[in-house]
Amino acid sequence: MRATVATLLRKELTLEWRTRESVPAMVLFSVATYVVFHFGLDRDRVAGDLASGVLVVTLLFSAILGVNRLFVAEHEQGGFDGFLLAPVDRTAMLVAKAVALFCFLCIVEAFALPAFALLLLGPPLTQALGPLVLVLLLANAGIAIIGTLVAGLAIQTRARDLIVPLLALPLLVPVVLAAARSATPLLQDGGAGALPGNWMAILAIYDLLFALIAYAVFDFLLED
């Protein structure tokens, strides 16, 4: 199982490294969205709850781009058949895809967060970088799990690009809510507040529960 996941993950990352299909688009999209927010909100700097909202929602939308592309290569080039013919556990696909998406999101944030600090954020990013990274990691885990599940659900449909956001956005509302609330005191003016523990707990529990649900149902998505 672990070897399979490692192989699949290596394949995912190699593929992304060679084609550079998702991650650059996601990074560009987030930076462009910050610029759009600047004009849309008509503000030079944001802080507190507005800042955390802008940050999390932008990351969510750029994640949707990645989710849309997640299974496309398998679908178009018959990777599913190859995978199903191989004598390996199907859950490996779920784990590998989710970890790959998690890595993509982390890479995107490595670029998007400095861009956000440069373009929009009022208080210095460094005032609470550690806790903020922790919040984003938990949010990434949630987005990666739900995103993989939704991508698997939508890949066979005709209106894939339409179904993915329609399904993912309601399912991700608790993640967005918890992540935005957790990040709010970290981004406020006049020094960072304490990290709200209950929100972090909700985020972690939600991630965990959806990981279990995804683990339970994912096999049925790969049956042909």
């Binding site: 659900l153 309601p170 049925f220």
Partner: protein
């Protein structure tokens, strides 16, 4: 069953005493049972979907479909009656810092994708399978979402569980129980009717096809994402 639904309507006009909110408060007997039944229907649809994935019998997919279908219809009713109630008692059509409203809206939006999902899958077996997976995920999401959003904010929404246990005077409690029962039975009756109508349609279609002697069932099926038997 319809008689009991009628009884529910009668009780609704006849029995309850007006509370401090006056007549408007009576919408409570429609709104709350409707919401509870819709949520149970969603979860029930998820359970039927589990059964489908286990047994692979179309009837379970059918049950899941019908249950979700009617729950979405009820959910529209819940959102409308809730809005009216909110307008009357809080003075606004929609209140954002209200976990019940928000989580119900999210659940409704999620279930509204059930039909686009079904429609965009051609193959019947695949359609049933994917719809079942969706129903399970969404069915599990319903309580999770409520828990998460609920933990989120201070609530001014009358929590029905607590109210029924402690806050309601006995007469209103009784009316509420009857309303709840009536709504549940209404739901079951509607489920039965829709199942019967679907069965009849399929029988008719099969017979017609036999008469016509050809198998251009795409012509006859039309655009429907409902499960086929």
């Amino acid at each position: 069953m319809l008689v009991l639904t009628g009884a529910f309507a009668m009780v609704f006009f006849y029995a309850p005493l007006d509370a401090d909110q006056g007549f408007v408060q009576k919408i409570f007997y429609v709104h709350v049972p409707m919401a509870i039944v819709a949520l149970i229907g969603f979860v029930g649809g998820g359970i039927c979907a589990v059964m489908y994935l286990r047994t692979r019998e179309t009837k379970w997919d059918m049950r899941s479909y019908v249950s979700i279908h009617l729950s979405v219809v009820l959910a529209v009713g819940v959102l409308i009656t809730g809005s009216i109630w909110a307008r009357a008692s809080w003075g606004q059509w929609w209140v954002w810092d209200e976990p019940m409203l928000v989580s119900f809206l999210i659940v409704f939006l999620l279930y509204a994708t059930y039909w686009p999902l079904r429609f965009s899958l051609e193959d019947r077996e695949k359609q049933a399978r994917y719809a079942s997976v969706f129903a399970i995920v969404a069915g599990a999401f319903v309580p999770l979402n409520f828990a998460a959003v609920r933990m989120a904010e201070a609530y001014i929404h009358p929590a029905t569980g607590a109210t029924v246990a402690g806050g309601l005077p006995p007469k209103m409690g009784l009316t509420f129980a009857v309303a709840m029962l009536g709504m549940g039975l209404l739901f079951l009756t509607l489920v039965k009717y829709e199942m019967a109508s679907k069965h009849a349609t399929f029988r008719l279609r099969a017979l017609r096809r036999k008469l016509a002697g050809d198998d251009d069932d795409l012509m006859l099926t039309g655009r429907s994402a409902a499960p086929q038997l």
